[in-house]
Assembly symmetry: C2
Homo-oligomer: 710 residues x 2
Amino acid sequence: MKLELDTLKPLLDPNSIAIIGASSDLTKIGGLPIKNLVDFNYQGSIFPVNPKYNEIAGLTCYTHINQIPAEVDLAIIILPNSMVLQAVRDCGAHGVKSVLIMSSGFSEIGDKGRRDQEELTKIAKNYQMRVLGPNTVGMFNLHKGAIANFALTPSLGEVPKGRIGMVSQSGAFCGYIYTLAAQKQIGLSYFIGTGNEADIDAADCIAYLAQNEHTDVIAVYLEGCKDGKKLIAALEMAKKNKKPVIILKTGKSEIGSKAALSHTASLVGEDASYDAIFNQAGAYRVESIQELLDISYACSFGRLPQGKNIAIFTVSGGAGIMMADYLAFQDVHLPIPDENVRKKLLQLVPFASVQNPIDFTGHLVNNPKIFGEFLREILDNGHYDMIVTFTGIQGYKKEAFEELLSAMKDIQKEYPHIPQLLTTLFTPETKKKIHETGIPVFDDPITMVKVANALCYLGNHFDQSIKGQLKWIKKNLNFTLFKSNILTEVHSKSLLKHYDIPVTIEMMAKTEGEAVKVANEIGYPVVLKGMSPQILHKTDANLVHLNVTNDVDVIQLFRYIRQTISQIQDAEFEGVLVQEMLDRPVAEMIIGSNNDPQFGPMVMVGLGGIFVEAFKHVSIRKAPVDKNEALTMIQELKGSSILNGLRGQPPADIEALTELITSVSHLVIDYADEIKEVDLNPVMVYPAGNGVKTADALITLNKQVLESVN
Amino acid sequence: MKLELDTLKPLLDPNSIAIIGASSDLTKIGGLPIKNLVDFNYQGSIFPVNPKYNEIAGLTCYTHINQIPAEVDLAIIILPNSMVLQAVRDCGAHGVKSVLIMSSGFSEIGDKGRRDQEELTKIAKNYQMRVLGPNTVGMFNLHKGAIANFALTPSLGEVPKGRIGMVSQSGAFCGYIYTLAAQKQIGLSYFIGTGNEADIDAADCIAYLAQNEHTDVIAVYLEGCKDGKKLIAALEMAKKNKKPVIILKTGKSEIGSKAALSHTASLVGEDASYDAIFNQAGAYRVESIQELLDISYACSFGRLPQGKNIAIFTVSGGAGIMMADYLAFQDVHLPIPDENVRKKLLQLVPFASVQNPIDFTGHLVNNPKIFGEFLREILDNGHYDMIVTFTGIQGYKKEAFEELLSAMKDIQKEYPHIPQLLTTLFTPETKKKIHETGIPVFDDPITMVKVANALCYLGNHFDQSIKGQLKWIKKNLNFTLFKSNILTEVHSKSLLKHYDIPVTIEMMAKTEGEAVKVANEIGYPVVLKGMSPQILHKTDANLVHLNVTNDVDVIQLFRYIRQTISQIQDAEFEGVLVQEMLDRPVAEMIIGSNNDPQFGPMVMVGLGGIFVEAFKHVSIRKAPVDKNEALTMIQELKGSSILNGLRGQPPADIEALTELITSVSHLVIDYADEIKEVDLNPVMVYPAGNGVKTADALITLNKQVLESVN
């Protein structure tokens, strides 16, 4: 993992561009980039390369890259697949700083292509040349007019130079996003299509935009990533620079498609890990292009709320309820104005609704002046972080609307930290005026409140400091004892104990006599569990016996267990685990961890027992988590209210539970190379002050660990 | 409840309109309707009424309604509040058929206004005149140019005459919807703002549109209703006439705001009843104006899918995954084409993705001909009910796009029952061409698949026959026994038994001796429960004792219970219920009913115990339900998989559970006037074949029932 941003500059902000495979037919893929560079007033040198021509579109055409008498920052390669490798070599030899390969036929077509792509990467690396693509639609940098791209034509309209940079793993979105932005007059800075990502990937581009002077907002279309840690670093860089990141990540519906050994692995799908990462890094995930653009557009005005209190203003009671209905189920608040404020508003408009939503009623049409008075009264109240306003079709009523706009503008000056969003229907003319006030405008109230919710999320995540390294001392674990990479309950728990994770009082007994002795030491009733490294599901194999109350039963059951194991093929008998019989807890939880191929160890918590199987709802983070984060994980669980003590039960020991989650998260980080999966199921949570106890545990190690220690 | 549709015709399809309170200033509320009728070429007579003028806008102005020398279908009243009642009287006396009252100051302002409104209703009734409003923005009927309405001006643009009729309880949406429809060129037939609903309400208007020749699709904005049965009748009429109804109903966030006696009442909020009604009547509920318009627009082309199998076509892999991600979590299917079909597609385009989504790849740009070939190949396969297609920015590429459109048009002729939806960016010119092909077009793929999902819901609900009356014989219940309207467990269960609802074996014992006798008859272990009409929460009062195993304990506990009750103020001791001790079930359920003020008895089912409290998720229908509907209710419960036998448990007796739900639903319908709430909690569900048993029950009667029988 490495983010070398300086080396990306010649590619994304090039002062000179060569087009290798240039065509004199400007409607062809080899001609379009030339036409675009000319049409968009590229502020740099353009060097077409093709031995067939002397000149294209008034530009000197070179026979070979090595004929270009100047430094080349970027070479666009648009050649038949078979000629690409040589062209890359030629570029390297000529000192070209970066290449953008539009040609396809590489890793996307199978083994042959994959090998070619590896070769390509090697060549570029030798020459220290960065590569975008292959199989990319290209990129555009509107501030420089660098349209290194075959998807655009001026017929798609004109996009304003703006503050939104877009990174996309799909090339098809280039023309689509550009055209939408032109229709809606949303300003863009960059579009970067990453193609096959032979070298530069989406994370590199996010990081580049995170420090780019022309970009304030980063919009991303993502299908996956090969280097999760680099992606996290890029997202954290954007967060540090207070640039909101909005991500459309596909692949949600593949959840659970993989068969998995443990509960945890089946619950923490690949997509769920992305959710956890985005959440921790403060990136906002959306599900449609429309949302991606709407939220990016609103963010591009540069104001995000610093709290979660929203005031809704409306000229229509119906629209007000509708917006409140939506926001009531989100993580924002709609505080009611203080009584003295409500009184003042009622003096202004006697039949106004002055809760929240605040309804001007039709009065506003006759008396637009009250608009500013209402807003000011509410903001002076001091409780609010953001304003959303629905004014119906006022945007069609030129004069009355001027008054509203000028009030919004004044408010914006007086309260520069309070973002305002507006919904009104508008003509192109009024839209332009609204844009000039610096207030984002929408034509649907629900679209607006969805955006408001996203802005609250983004604004409030900036303020959350990135979790620093906790004080933590790695404990020494010894893996040499184990013969199988799937640890038995007793071995799993021995590791947990080293991390001060509470487990049942228990002891292994190899003989009947030992079992009786241990049972008496622990005190009756006890639980007996047969241990065999080959048997994971002890209950199914009839190896778990609860509530054993006397010596005779211990002996009988010990024999029964040993015999049962001996009858299972290849199963070794390790002994019988004699365990205290646990009291009924307030709740059973499952706590687990899997090692995500992209992001490393993740930690998971869910309600245990039948809950987790019936609802498949768990809370996931990248490990480690501190106790605050663990608490948030618990609180966001559907059904977590049972921990507060439903049905006359006492509240559960959430303090102890957060401690346990934190410890598990450190265990899996400290031994990220050794531990593959952890499954504590169930963890019994007792009333506050009475702690938690891990009743059963299953830890799986990476196979190599045993090979290396044995 | 009554839907008198003929009497609505003069109001909604008027041949002559009088404007009482007409103003010569055509920008004022008294002038706007006149201007609108003229501007929109109203095909009927216009009679301004105002003693101040002889003529307005070239029309003769009358001094009084009784001066108009012709039949008046509709009088629009725009007078100061204090003059409205007299004007209504005058209209009645003159034989005016209906009035539309824009004036405000009635029930919306409090008691005085409410009384005036009642008076108004009475006057109109005496003259058999229908009333729209008061406090309404009015209505418009575009086919007739009858713009009885002050919200529109021609500056808002022109809306095509179309097939979508809109009913709204908010006047503010009139101009808003009109303007949006003009921007998007969506055709409308009607907008009807119902205002205070002194007479005509939203249900009347839905019913009117359900039989109106110019309307195929009914879009509704609803905040509530006073006559639920009329609303149901209207929705069922629309369904019978195969007109889709799309409803934006607000008030979701008020769920649970009411304190409630039983579990059921707290779970079945007012809004949840609406959900159940919409679901049973096949109306589709949306949450935004945008959705309301998008879905209505798509429906207005007159084609709905008859099954749930969707084929996704795309020119972008990314957009394909995005759409599949969304649809994978909806109640639709994305079947993969048969192998021979996949082979044929691969012959056409070697690197196409031919699962579902079906990705043409960039190939389509060079060879638009394959578009039709792909679609035909898939449809010939015979598995699909609907096609959704994403073609990026093809809508900007005139010639290539012609080819796609002509293919879609041919397909439409060949497969007239298969609706197609298209997403592409378009210019006004291409949009018009797409519209002419009869294919709905969107500019966002997620918007399109959300619409596709709605169309599947609507299309498939038409095919569900409306539940006929089941064969059912009302059982005789005797309420004279009861002294309190809140029935004790034993009284509640006595009613259930009459409806063959399985309950625990149990008997009341008034004395210790009886208790011992009964316990021995039932067989140990037993449960003892103290009965007092004043004590609802027996467990909290320590009146429930499980697992009582012998005569001595029965006597001891009987005394303890009697004494406990005697110490609670005003609590009467009715006896001790001796009950069989139940085995552990596969699952505990809660089944209940409340009597919705609008819709009458509703029936509810949820997972019992801690599930229902933690997740607040239940399934609700209007009673009665048959066994199929009861099964659907169970299946749609989150977590219902526990009934299939998780964790090695046997599958539950779902057959017996559906029978119980059906019986409860009949009980509450048969005694809708007597029974207020039913709460069976828990109902134990045993393994298939072993039935269900109601362990505890609480029935609440309406207070008047006891007054009338006692």
